[in-house]
């Protein structure tokens, strides 16, 4: 049994390199979320069904997270934070499905988040969103002013933060998911029966924690640029 990772089914479209497996699984995660959301939306009831109760619980959880980090403005930004949380959670959990049964030309289906391109895209969305949120809230000058807080010579540090934040967001999620898959692969290569099961269960936990961390960090970055006092 060989151990391989980071291989993707690459197709060339013009000058672009496309990781087909990543895109297919990402679309699958999105389709799943949209279909579940539509099912819940058209079956709304005064007495919630099980799935509606679950959705309400998730919304409450995310609402608390957003208002905890951003303050009472949190409800405005809930769309982004909830989308990030649900998409990353679905994407991470998808990696534990038995994709190995489907044979591809190259690489294999796995979590879309085990590709750095997916996580980098998510991190860049967060960067653009929180810069935009800061400028919308305080105006361009007000936003630039916050780089010179608490004292003027902190400006390079604060500017550098806008670079390191998306980097660490992208790398943290990517490395966590990839490391989990590599560890399971190694365990399967050692003893295929039984031994990987605890690790798979742990990966389910990691999938939740990473989605939570990504969303809560996005919320706290938005909170940092939109807060009044510094």
């Amino acid at each position: 049994m060989e151990i391989s990772f980071g291989e993707h089914w690459i197709e060339h479209i013009g000058p672009l390199q496309v990781h087909v497996d990543t895109i297919l699984t990402a679309w699958l995660a999105m389709a799943f979320l949209i279909i579940v959301a539509l099912i819940i939306r058209f079956n709304l009831d005064r007495i919630p069904s099980k799935i509606q109760a679950l959705a309400e619980m998730a919304l409450d959880f995310i609402k608390n997270m957003a208002t905890g980090q951003i303050g009472k403005d949190g409800r405005k930004h809930i769309a982004l934070i909830a989308s990030l949380f649900l998409f990353i959670l679905t994407a991470n959990l998808m990696g534990q499905l038995p994709w190995k049964l489907i044979h591809l030309k190259e690489g294999e289906f796995a979590s879309p988040t085990n590709d750095i391109n997916t996580t980098a895209a998510l991190a860049i969305i967060v960067l653009i969103y929180y810069l935009g949120a800061g400028i919308m809230k305080k105006g361009l000058l007000g936003h630039i002013k916050h780089y010179f807080q608490p004292v003027w010579f902190m400006a390079p540090m604060n500017l550098l933060e806008d670079v390191t934040r998306p980097f660490s967001l992208a790398l943290r999620l990517f490395a966590n998911i990839l490391a989990g898959e590599v560890i399971i692969m190694v365990l399967v290569a050692l003893i295929p029966v039984g031994l990987p099961i605890p690790m798979v269960l742990f990966e389910l936990f990691v999938a939740f924690i990473q989605a939570f961390i990504f969303a809560i960090l996005a919320a706290s970055y938005i909170g940092a640029v939109t807060s009044e006092e510094h």
Partner: protein
């Protein structure tokens, strides 16, 4: 051949040494969180949230080391 051996050694050292710091840090963080919860059990939810955020930052350091190890691995391919 020599280069490859050194690269393999560097790969092992990168993740091995890189895991020491975050390991100590995470131990401290979790110990403090448990102590805080034991002193004030009603604050458990808040402490847990803060602990997980802190742990994610610490864990990221170890994962950067892992990324470096992967990069070295890709170099020797």
């Amino acid at each position: 051949m020599e280069t490859k051996a050194i690269a393999l050694l560097a790969m092992g050292l990168a993740i091995g040494l890189g895991a020491i710091g975050p390991g100590l840090g995470m131990g401290h963080a979790v110990a403090s969180a448990i102590e805080a919860t034991a002193r004030q059990p009603e604050a458990e939810g808040k402490v847990r949230t803060l602990m997980f955020i802190g742990l994610a930052f610490l864990e990221a350091l170890a994962l950067y080391a892992l990324v470096i190890a992967f990069i070295i691995m890709a170099q020797i391919g």
